[in-house]
């Protein structure tokens, strides 16, 4: 259903204004050195000239802390109050990067694996993603090595590509995208001919050949490669938290007085406690075993069980790693060795 329109640089802020009349709008905002997705009321607040926000957009559909239900304890027992999915807001995220948008498909695969998770499904259904194609990249970006691209439309409802004049090429991709257009149809101009969006995209060189990646990583399972690479890993979990797809979670109760709530929290397979049994036995005893789990999950188990990869090549985990572990480098080494 892809339709191509033009959105002039003057029309873009008007579109944001129009959307924010009825829905909450979020976008990448600069906060000193940090770029993060924040609520905005005008296009002026959006950051410009950046590679990628520090955190991914996954928290729109999978928040750091998600209330699952609440409870009240009294002398007669416990009352449980279910959450109301109607309270999940309709939101529009402007300027999500194509890699982050593509990651939504992998998240969806995780959360819709039977039984489907209604909280996630509702959040995803009520979020509209207006992507912004990348016109710059850095050495950590490797989307093209995993089948993505700086102009990938996957996961976006509308994808904008900024041209050299500052105007945007707008690809209307889904019915949610159409709905945005109907809010302000006059702002979107018809176009004739090919606007050659590729001209305006960043160049992201391929860092490895993914054609046999799953077999190669399976073949590496019993080798020392994971132990060796993870020697310096501290298990800090930063990689999992910045990842647009890492969705492993913990479930905890938070109580204050007689009231409380059960919550789902981001967790990470890199943490030692993650799999520790009560008996003291730990099936993934070493940091190497945990690094192997991280890579195997993304590049072998997910493709096998869910038919999607667990990585889109955004490079955040490598950018944020305090000991400079680099996932693309580790994969490249695996591919060469096996």
């Amino acid at each position: 259903m892809s339709k191509i329109k033009k959105l002039s640089k003057e029309s873009f802020p008007l579109l944001i204004k129009k959307i924010s009349e009825t829905q909450h709008v979020y976008g990448p905002v600069s906060q000193g050195k940090r770029i993060s997705y924040q609520r905005i009321s005008s296009a002026d607040e959006l950051a410009s000239d950046f590679i990628i926000p520090d955190m991914s957009a996954k928290s729109f559909v999978f928040p750091k802390i998600e209330k699952l239900f609440s409870y009240t304890k009294n002398k007669d027992g416990v009352e449980v109050q279910d959450i109301n999915l109607d309270n999940i807001p309709h939101r529009v995220v402007v300027g999500i990067r194509p890699c982050d948008a593509a990651g939504m498909e992998s998240l969806k695969a995780i959360f819709s694996w039977d039984p489907s998770d209604p909280i996630f499904e509702t959040r995803l259904k009520r979020t509209t993603f207006i992507g912004l194609a990348c016109n710059q990249a850095d050495d950590y970006c490797f989307c093209t090595s995993l089948g993505g691209s700086p102009g990938d439309t996957k996961g976006s409802d509308i994808l904008l590509t900024k041209t050299d004049t500052g105007d945007y090429i707008a690809e209307i991709l889904t019915s949610k995208g159409e709905k945005i257009v109907t809010l302000a149809p006059d702002l979107f101009q018809d176009v004739e001919g090919d606007l050659q969006k590729e001209k305006f995209l960043a160049n992201v060189p391929k860092r490895f050949d993914n054609s046999d990646l799953q077999n190669k990583i399976n073949a590496a399972f019993n080798t020392d490669v994971f132990d060796e690479y993870a020697m310096r890993c501290m298990g800090c979990s930063a990689c999992a938290f910045v990842c647009p797809i890492c969705a492993c979670f913990d479930i905890q109760d938070e109580t204050k007085g007689s009231k409380g709530q059960r919550v789902r929290l981001w967790d990470s397979c890199g943490a030692k406690l993650f799999t520790l049994h009560t008996s003291g036995h730990n099936p993934r005893e070493t940091q190497g075993a945990r690094w192997r789990q991280r890579l195997m999950h993304k590049f072998s188990y997910m493709p096998e069980r869910l038919e999607v990869r667990g990585c889109v090549g955004c490079g955040r985990c490598s950018r944020r790693c305090p000991v400079d572990m680099n996932i693309a480098e580790s994969l490249n080494q695996l591919i060469i060795d096996n």
Binding site: K73, F111, P118
Partner: protein
């Protein structure tokens, strides 16, 4: 709207049985009769049990699916949630989410001999399948139960062991680790695999089910193989740390296999295919 998959049923602790030091069995009954009516499970499945304000813990359902209206769980007080559970009294409310996971294929076992081998706190998952089979006794041929614990005091379900001992249609072999016996102890003394080897149940037309600590399982499989059991006829249950119970939280997988969705029941043949991450 479909039910919130994280929302537990509220259950009343209907009965507490002290089994062994720090080990208790809870009988749980649904507070909502409609939920009780719609609930069903099959032997082998597990659930998430919770104390509101403390969190959830994963245990098997220790009662047989042939007995309706309640579920039972047996746990040892070790961590935060099991300590909170231990502090509850009859009449208190707990959360229960489930059932999850696969089941023992008891229909496929019809017409066969059954050998159950359990160690310590691993009798609970086996108790469910033992009672399910005993409640359909005519479907199976000889039923033998091997059960061992560290000491006589650590044996769980003492009253049921007595019942099985007295039944003419059950062969019960009890053992305690050397040093764990009392002057009155009439059972065997020795580790479970040793006793299995000594009694040497026939592998002919027989299914073996083994549940216990990893060391016991590791040492029992070779004994069974030596007795002629094929890996496809040896069953066990895996236990890994879990949070969700339905394949999302990312903890329990052994390679590409999820204990919560593909298990917890596996054959020795299936285990042989898994990486050593359990």
């Amino acid at each position: 709207m479909e039910r919130n998959i994280y929302l537990p049923y509220r259950m009343k602790v209907a009965k507490i049985t002290e089994e062994a030091p720090a080990v208790r069995t809870f009988r749980l009954e649904f507070l909502d009769p409609a939920e009780a009516e719609n609930f069903s499970f099959k032997t082998g499945q597990f659930a998430e049990y919770s104390v509101f304000g403390e969190g959830e813990s994963t245990f098997c359902i220790a009662s047989p699916h042939t007995r309706k209206g309640y579920v039972e769980c047996t746990f040892r007080q070790v961590g935060r949630v099991t300590t909170a559970l231990s502090n509850l009294e009859e009449g208190d409310t707990v959360g229960f989410r489930g059932p999850y996971g696969n089941t023992f294929p008891i229909d496929e076992w019809k017409g066969k001999n059954l050998v159950f081998i359990a160690g310590g706190i691993a009798l609970p998952p086996m108790r469910s399948v033992i009672w399910t089979c005993l409640d359909n006794r005519k479907d199976y041929k000889d039923i033998s139960i091997f059960y061992g614990a560290k000491t006589v005091n650590d044996l769980v379900y003492k009253h049921e062991l007595k019942e099985w001992e007295e039944r003419p249609d059950v062969n019960l072999y009890q053992t305690v680790d050397p040093g764990g016996e009392t002057p009155e102890w009439k059972g065997e003394v020795g580790f479970v695999p040793t006793i299995v080897e000594k009694i040497a149940p026939s592998a002919e037309n027989t299914i073996a089910v083994v549940c216990g600590p990893p060391i016991m399982i590791k040492n029992t499989f070779p004994v069974l193989q030596k007795l002629g059991f094929k890996d496809e006829n040896i069953y066990t249950t895996l236990e890994n740390r879990m949070k969700c119970g339905f394949g999302k939280c990312g903890r329990c997988n052994v390679g590409k296999t999820y204990v919560c969705k593909d298990g917890p029941v596996f054959t020795a043949a299936q285990l042989a295919e898994l990486p050593n991450e359990y």
